[in-house]
């Protein structure tokens, strides 16, 4: 972990440099800030997820007793939200800066407010409210209690105390803080379209590269794929295959758990099983965007994915406690 950096003061932008943070600077600042509070910095998870919560660094780490602090920027894909790059506020893939603090420190809200100072928000000149907003994910068997943090009427963060994950009651609890990076960057830079966000500014020339320069094509093509080209029959087939493989791994874990062979239990690939579960979740989202899931199927498919998530969570908890005994 990086050596502790003295607190927010050193992180506030040089007053002479009144340029708002670029998109990448915003991420640097948040990473630096939370690293200095003892967080592991992770890279985004490299399987498609709908939210940072689904990445194993959250979903699996919140289970069991071991304390953990981690932060990572997670591209979050929601096929149905795609707008072909035409809507200035909506994206198929947005970026969440996801933070997990397990257990939550007593001064977590104060730390969070300091992080806002760290990205150049002078709270004496803004209006900040914590408004009730509880979070629930039926597909993950997870829910929590918390707030949306409103800054001048804009929701900039989702703040949740996880209570349950993968159908398992948590102890200790975990606080999850999710910053919506595009929103915050657009707010800081005062631009009306996400695509106008300055992603980076060349220090030598001052030339800028904007969000649209980098991501517009991505939004357009994936909207076309998700809404028009994705092959429904193949998506169902993929879903079936991934589900079957995931389920057989879960079944295997159950059999193994009875063996009390801790070496075997410890090396059993539940992380692989979880990747397969994530694949299923993404395929479900694609099918949904394609309008391919009928009423009766919808609830059923959600239940199938939930069964995988819950199965992996249970097996993972067992595995962790077996490994702990070793």
């Amino acid at each position: 972990m990086p050596a502790s950096i003295s607190h927010s003061d050193s992180l506030v932008a040089d007053p002479a440099d009144r340029q708002p943070l670029t998109f990448q600077e915003l991420l640097f600042r948040l990473q630096t800030f939370w690293a200095s509070r003892g967080c592991v910095l992770q890279q985004p998870y490299d399987v498609e997820v709908g939210a940072g919560t689904m990445a194993p660094e959250t979903f699996l780490r919140v289970l069991g007793p071991r304390p953990y602090r981690v932060g990572y920027a997670q591209p979050s894909r929601r096929p149905a939200d795609g707008r072909y790059g035409e809507n200035p506020n909506r994206l198929f893939k947005h970026t969440q800066f996801q933070l997990i603090l397990k257990p939550p420190p007593d001064n977590i809200q104060e730390m969070y407010l300091q992080s806002l100072s760290a990205i150049g928000i002078d709270l004496r000149r803004h209006d900040l409210k914590f408004e009730e907003d509880n979070w629930e994910s039926p597909t993950l068997g997870a829910w929590g209690i918390g707030w949306q943090v409103m800054l001048d009427g804009l929701e900039i963060t989702q703040f949740t105390y996880f209570q349950q994950c993968g159908g398992i009651d948590l102890d200790p609890m975990t606080a999850e803080i999710t910053y919506g990076l595009e929103r915050i960057a657009a707010f800081l830079q005062d631009v009306d379209s996400i695509y106008d966000i300055v992603w980076m500014r060349d220090p030598a020339t001052g030339a800028v590269i904007r969000y649209g320069d980098i991501r517009l094509e991505d939004e357009l093509q994936f909207s076309v794929y998700n809404f028009e080209y994705a092959d429904v029959g193949k998506l169902w087939e993929h879903l079936r295959l991934y589900e079957a493989e995931c389920q057989s791994l879960i079944d295997g874990a159950r059999t193994l758990a009875d063996s009390e062979d801790t070496t075997q239990i410890r090396r059993y690939p539940l992380l692989g099983a979880f990747d397969l579960c994530l694949k299923c979740s993404h395929l479900f989202n694609l099918l949904d965007a394609r309008g391919a899931i009928s009423v009766t199927e919808r609830v059923g498919v959600i239940a199938r994915i939930r069964a995988l998530a819950v199965g992996v969570a249970r097996a993972y908890t067992t595995q962790q406690s077996a490994a702990g005994k070793e």
Binding site: N87, P88, N89, P103, P104, D106, Q109, E110, L113, L123, R124, R125, H126, D127, L128, K129, F130, E131, E132, N134, G144, I145, W147, L151, D152, G153, L154, Y161, Q163, D171, P172, M173, F187, D190, D192, G291, I293, S294, V295, T296, R298, V299
Partner: protein, 692 residues
């Protein structure tokens, strides 16, 4: 006498829960002090709250309970004193209450002889009692939704507790809860005051000390300030007023510790969007107050209540930020509106197959088909009874009623369902009857809300709701206790209100039959809603409602009329006499039946006494009169006629013995009172009337 302060410091409590919690903690603290004999007659108990704290200040607490003697009763004398000595049971009692055996004596009570002892109770100090009992009191506060946050999950509370203050005057009362120990140190406004502790010099300096730390702990004061500020700021726009919204005022009162009001604006071009959409965005999504002209037209301004106080530069920044958010939301709404017009409502009916109504029942397409069948059946009844309405428009409205669920605008603003459909129907030229029926299908949304104004909308509202109720009942989703996840009670209330206030000639049983429903719990459920409506909404006395519903509970508007009439006459002396006679008659008949007496072949010529002949004559006349008045729904006059019978009935029961020894005479008299009962029973079951 010292003043007592308790403050629970929390992470932000949900605004919707604060008012109830404030009242809750006030009552609990008051009860605790009262039970412990620490509350002086002149004590005042005041609760305070902000999003981050819940507090109670009690003035004039008794510092120490007076010492007291207490008489305690032990085992019976027989058990306690045997063979001239105290038994083990007696000695155990002495030990338990802390006296020596010498102090035991015989006491005689109405229940018999026991042993007793006089025990000296030393009064305890308020501080001791509060220390001991406050943790349990705090834990006992009830919250609609609570959480764990500490390892080991030792307690649940609405949000993490971050500090505790408990003081008697300047002294800290030691209280431990949720890992926090009390002190005299509170906290101020997060930003305006910062993290430095706010030390309270004494309990009753609470409000003034916190005010210096930019926290108004008195929610009433914040409410007052917010209203004043809304007025003041709105005055800067000539001729404007803010749109009154009590619920929103309450929300912002409980979202702020130091409220100020800021005026913002938006581009006038957005006023082209329907005002329902604009107000929903402002109110429900942004918690802004809408601004309107004197004649109620929306103006391109809004008011937002801040939880801070800023300089001019800060105001400009915050205004700009809020306007930016609002503009993008309006832009979205405009975008959705335009996009939705590309697929007219009529083309959306098939899309309803993809929208779930209930997973075990079917889609909204299925529901629409059901609704159509029910609406047709209702139409048949109403047409037969001569009601005039546009059936084609109604059926079209039923067909299209749910199609707005497929629109982008409703996906974004779910609270506008129905309203959006109505607006689209109007924009797509479907005509006002169809548009307004779709628009107002969810009215009344609450007991305060009006019912739909057109007959077509009323029928749509009835058909939709009875379909929901009966299909949910058919799969076992029946409300029980506080569990009513599909808001079926609200749907039932709406049905009753529409039937009561529209005066549609339609009975509850007919509505249920229109839904083709055999589930026998639907009728009692709707009757219970009718009873609720008559009692809690119309305010009729419990027994009046019971009496009216016992006579007939199928025709809602008729039940209303009968309640009104009965409520009006029930206190008159004559009516009370008749009601009493009614009960008496009922009892006599019940007993006669129980004794196996049969009077069906009674001979009325056997009635010869003047009092029974008078009652017979009056009864025959009354039956005709009451029948006629009832048919004309003149219940008040009918009941007055019935009450007019009092002297005759009175004379009858004074002079005549119904259960005469001679069987044929007894039968004739039983027959007489039975027919009297029948002639006055149709309006209400007077046996239900409670006579003081």
């Amino acid at each position: 006498m010292p003043d007592f302060l308790l403050e629970i410091g929390l992470e932000e409590i949900p605004a919707r829960m604060i008012a109830a919690a404030e009242q809750d903690i006030r009552e609990l603290v008051k009860a605790l002090l009262g039970d412990a004999r620490l509350l002086h007659a002149e004590s005042s108990v005041t609760a305070y709250s902000t999003p981050r704290r819940l507090a109670v200040l009690v003035t004039g607490v008794i510092a120490k309970q007076p010492d007291a003697e207490e008489e305690l009763i032990g085992p019976s004398w027989k058990m306690a004193w045997q063979q001239d000595a105290w038994t083990a049971a007696a000695l155990a009692f002495a030990r338990k209450v802390g006296v020596s055996a010498d102090a035991l004596r015989k006491v005689t009570t109405p229940k018999g002889e026991y042993i007793g002892a006089t025990v000296q109770r030393k009064g305890e100090s308020a501080a001791t009692i509060l220390s001991a009992r406050l943790p349990e009191l705090i834990a006992g506060l009830s919250w609609p939704k609570s959480m764990y946050w500490r390892a080991g999950k030792p307690e649940r509370f609405v949000r993490p507790v971050r500090w505790l203050v408990a003081m008697l005057d300047a002294e800290v009362v030691s209280v431990d809860f949720a890992g926090q120990s009390s002190s005299s140190s509170s906290r101020g406004h997060r930003i305006l005051h910062g993290d430095a502790p706010v030390v309270l010099p004494r309990a009753n300096a609470y409000a003034e000390t916190l005010q210096k730390a930019f926290v108004l702990v008195d929610s009433a004061e914040r409410r007052h300030r917010i209203r004043k500020a809304l007025d003041r700021v709105t005055r800067t726009i000539p001729g404007a007023r803010w749109r009154e919204d009590e619920e929103l005022v309450e929300t912002v009162v409980h979202l702020t510790e130091w409220p100020t009001v800021l005026l913002g604006g938006f581009e006038a071009e957005y006023l082209a969007l329907p005002q329902e959409v604009l107000v929903t965005v402002m109110r429900d999504h942004q918690k802004y107050f809408a601004v309107e002209s004197a004649d109620g037209l929306l103006l391109p301004h809004f008011l937002t209540v801040l939880n801070t106080e800023v300089d001019a530069e800060g105001e400009a920044i915050i205004r700009h930020g809020n306007e930016r958010v609002l503009r993008s939301r309006f832009k979205d709404a405009q975008f959705f509106w335009d996009a939705d017009q590309k697929t007219p409502l009529a083309e959306r009916v098939g899309m309803l197959r993809a929208v779930t109504f209930q997973k075990d029942l079917g889609s909204y397409h299925w529901k629409t088909e059901q609704n159509l069948a029910i609406a047709e059946a209702i139409c048949k009844i109403l047409a037969y009874r001569g009601k005039v309405f546009d059936k084609a428009a109604l059926l079209k409205a039923v067909l299209l009623a749910k199609t707005d669920l497929t629109s982008e605008l409703v996906k974004e603003f779910t609270e506008l369902q129905g309203i959006v459909g109505g607006l689209y129907a109007r924009a797509q030229g479907l005509g006002e009857t169809i548009a307004s029926a779709i628009y107002s299908q969810y009215m009344p949304a609450s007991m305060e809300d009006a019912i739909p104004s057109t007959i077509e909308a009323q029928i749509l509202g009835l058909a939709d709701r009875i379909q929901t109720i009966s299909s949910m009942f058919s799969i076992g989703n029946i409300p029980a206790g506080s569990r009513d996840p599909f808001a079926l009670r609200r749907a039932g209330n709406a049905i009753v209100r529409i039937l009561a206030e529209s005066a549609l000639p339609l009975k509850i049983s007919e509505l249920i039959a229109a839904a083709g429903q055999a589930e026998d719990r639907v009728a009692p459920f709707l009757r219970e809603r009718l009873s609720f409506y008559l009692r809690d909404v119309k305010g009729y006395a419990y027994d009046v409602v019971a009496a009216v519903m016992a006579a007939d509970a199928d025709d809602v508007s008729d039940a209303c009329a009968r309640c009104e009439a009965l409520q009006a006459v029930r206190t008159s002396t004559d009516f009370i006499a008749v009601a009493a006679a009614y009960k008496r008659i009922r009892n006599i008949l019940d007993q006669a039946r129980a004794a196996g007496i049969v009077w069906s072949s009674a001979d009325e010529t056997l009635l010869v006494e003047p009092e029974e002949r008078a009652l017979h004559a009056a009864s025959v006349q009354l039956a005709a009169q009451v029948g006629e008045l009832r048919a004309g729904h003149e219940y008040r006059r009918a009941l007055e006629r019935i009450a007019g019978l009092a002297p005759v009935v009175d004379a009858f029961f004074t002079r005549i013995m119904v259960m005469a020894p001679e069987p044929s005479l007894r039968s004739a008299r039983l027959r007489l009172i039975e027919s009297l009962l029948a002639s006055i029973s149709g309006i209400a079951d007077f046996a239900e009337i409670v006579i003081a």
